[in-house]
Symmetry: C2
């Protein structure tokens, strides 16, 4: 997949959360030759540290444009990521269950992809990159391949671009990879993972908790590559 | 369809623009017994008069809750409705073409439906009502039945509610009706159309232009019912 090469100046929209997956996807889109327009979301998340990471990553990658869209999902309620509910913690990644956890944000990827679609169509881009991953993940339904395919079908029925014979394409290069494989690929592409933030519940200074689903999956991914995760973690209490 | 009756206290989300169609749909949802949670959008539209209408209509209908979500689609560009581009005017509804006009806002209904979906899932509602109409309309791709069906499939693959066996349902009771039929139905339900605003390019005081697609379709709908549209129109210049 990395050896795909597009025509020069082909624009693409990349959803950039500031985490490990989306930072890797940004590097993949660039190595394929896309001119990247990155989009991030200030959605009421408790972990706004990731937006500072997204800004640094976009700048370092020298993207064509990076916009941060304000959309307050916390006004709807219903998630530990946008409310005062406690984020679940575990001792190891093996403890992460198969049920959808309370960190699930209702329809979040649908909202984010819809806005990415609006942005892409407005700037004449047909390609949207998203770092979802259905293997080492928290069990969210909107990270699965069948959901992504359904969104793409809907997008092509609901846009001028789609019905005009210029289909929009969703690219999810990480969807079938383990976290360890994602990290290995990103390191080959020069991604600086010290600049990323994955934690659902970081301290204000950005230190990761080390015990939420996102931290544990990330830590295991580095360990399986015989590497240390370069981000700062809170010392065990 | 109007004789459907749901269990008491069944919540539903109604997308309420403040126009003729969505005001009719709100009345339909209420007569079917739904407890209505209305959602409107401040999306950078030039015709913010419609938001004042939405507020009045929601209040008069005594809905359970009415929220207005801020989401600035004008930052993406690409539409006469969110920019300084001139809104096309015609002499009569018969002049409205079949091409998608420049009033099309990229992916607008997808963005709005995604947020309605997030709201519905957060409050435990399975039903979403939307006043799209594929007959007397401006040719937007995101008003067609095939698009609506595709959104519903996507929504049920991408939400916790959907994958937990509580499918979300999109209701589009107006989709196959003419504007005249919609008005006739709404009047039977007691909708006060003097409180609605459909114009794409109204004056600041709310007076409708009388010559954009939305005005012409609406005026023809009233005329076909041998009625005068009760809203104020600018005098011909």
């Amino acid at each position: 997949m990395a050896d795909v090469q597009v025509e020069p100046s082909t624009p693409a929209v990349v959803l950039l959360s500031g985490g490990l997956d989306s930072s890797t996807v940004l590097a993949i889109a660039q190595v394929q030759g896309y001119q990247v327009h990155a989009i991030s979301f200030r959605y009421g998340q408790r972990h706004q540290v990731e937006l500072a990471c997204a800004n640094r990553i976009a700048k370092r990658a020298n993207v064509s444009r990076h916009i941060t869209v304000d959309i307050d999902l916390s006004q709807f309620g219903g998630s530990a990521l946008t409310s005062g509910l406690a984020v679940p913690k575990h001792a190891s990644a093996d403890e992460i269950g198969n049920d959808i956890p309370i960190t699930y944000v209702p329809a979040r990827n649908t909202v984010f992809l819809s806005l990415a679609l609006a942005y892409a169509e407005s700037l004449g881009a047909r390609d949207i990159f998203l770092g979802v991953n259905a293997l080492d993940y928290s069990g969210y339904p909107d990270c699965r391949p069948e959901y992504i395919r359904a969104f793409e079908i809907m997008a092509n029925l609901g846009t001028k671009a789609g019905v005009s014979g210029q289909p929009m394409r969703l690219h999810t290069p990480l969807i079938e990879l383990t976290k360890a494989q994602i990290i290995a690929w990103g390191l080959k592409l020069g991604v600086d993972y010290s600049q990323t933030s994955s934690c659902y519940d970081p301290l204000a200074d950005g230190q990761a908790c080390g015990r939420c689903d996102a931290c544990l999956l990330r830590l295991r991914g580095f360990a399986q590559n015989q590497l240390h995760d370069p981000v700062a973690y809170q010392p065990p209490s």
